[in-house]
């Protein structure tokens, strides 16, 4: 799925990165637990999370994740945006819950990591 379609489906707002030229989303993983994210084997999924702090972006960096979606109305801080920018990430915010977000993406063919 391309980022502009994802934004449309989830009423998502782009807070960092280039939506038009970003990689296509094939897999997604939802968690508020960063230690969970760090157990994933390599496949660079979209990270759907309600955890909004700088460790969210650090974890994405370490896990080779390039796309972060903050769900349930969580807002990115300037510190997070700066770090996401440094790492060429796309970061988005959606008002939808993690369940609704995941359901919509799954319905549109985004695959689970496991």
């Amino acid at each position: 799925m391309k980022i502009p379609l994802l934004m449309q489906l989830l009423e998502a707002r782009l807070v960092c990165g280039d939506a038009e030229n970003h990689r296509i989303i094939e897999h997604a993983f939802a968690s508020d637990l960063m230690s969970d994210v760090l157990t994933l084997d390599a496949c660079s999924p979209l990270l759907i999370t309600g955890l909004s702090n700088v460790q969210t972006i650090r974890t994405a960096e370490m896990a080779d994740i390039h796309t972060v979606l903050l769900a349930r109305g969580k807002k990115a801080t300037p510190e997070m945006i700066a770090l996401a920018h440094q790492n060429d990430m796309v970061m988005l915010e959606t008002p939808y819950s993690i369940f609704k977000t995941s359901g919509i993406l799954y319905q549109h063919g985004v695959k689970p990591v496991y």
Binding site: L33, S35, D36, L38, T39, N53, Q55, M62, E79
Partner: protein, 136 residues
Amino acid sequence: MTFTYEIEGGNFSRAGTASSDIKKALKQLDLDYTIIKRVVVSLYEAEVNIVAHARRGTLTADIDPDRIVMVLDDQGPGIPDIDAAMTAGFSTASSRVREMGFGAGMGLPNIKKNADSLNIQSTVGVGTRLEIVVNF
């Protein structure tokens, strides 16, 4: 190549900066992507452990042609029962640590999974020393 960093306990806004730096250095070398990920994931969990559980620490990473040796030495409470600490789900983390997305007791088991060797020495009331080796 040797890298040394000071890590400050409790400072979550800086947690991961050392691991990030080492990741950048490793990317300059002609290494397999899965090797780099195993190094940085284990290093980051170990770095976060110092921030989460100790007062301060030092991280030294030695990059050789055939392996990386990472030593994380901290001054802190130490680990009374290392076998218990290595068990998935065991955690003494504070609510502040959990708010940062850690503290589920998955760090040490994940370091063990990603490392070719993990050695932990700890003295209660003094500190903890982790040696993590990943072969290239």
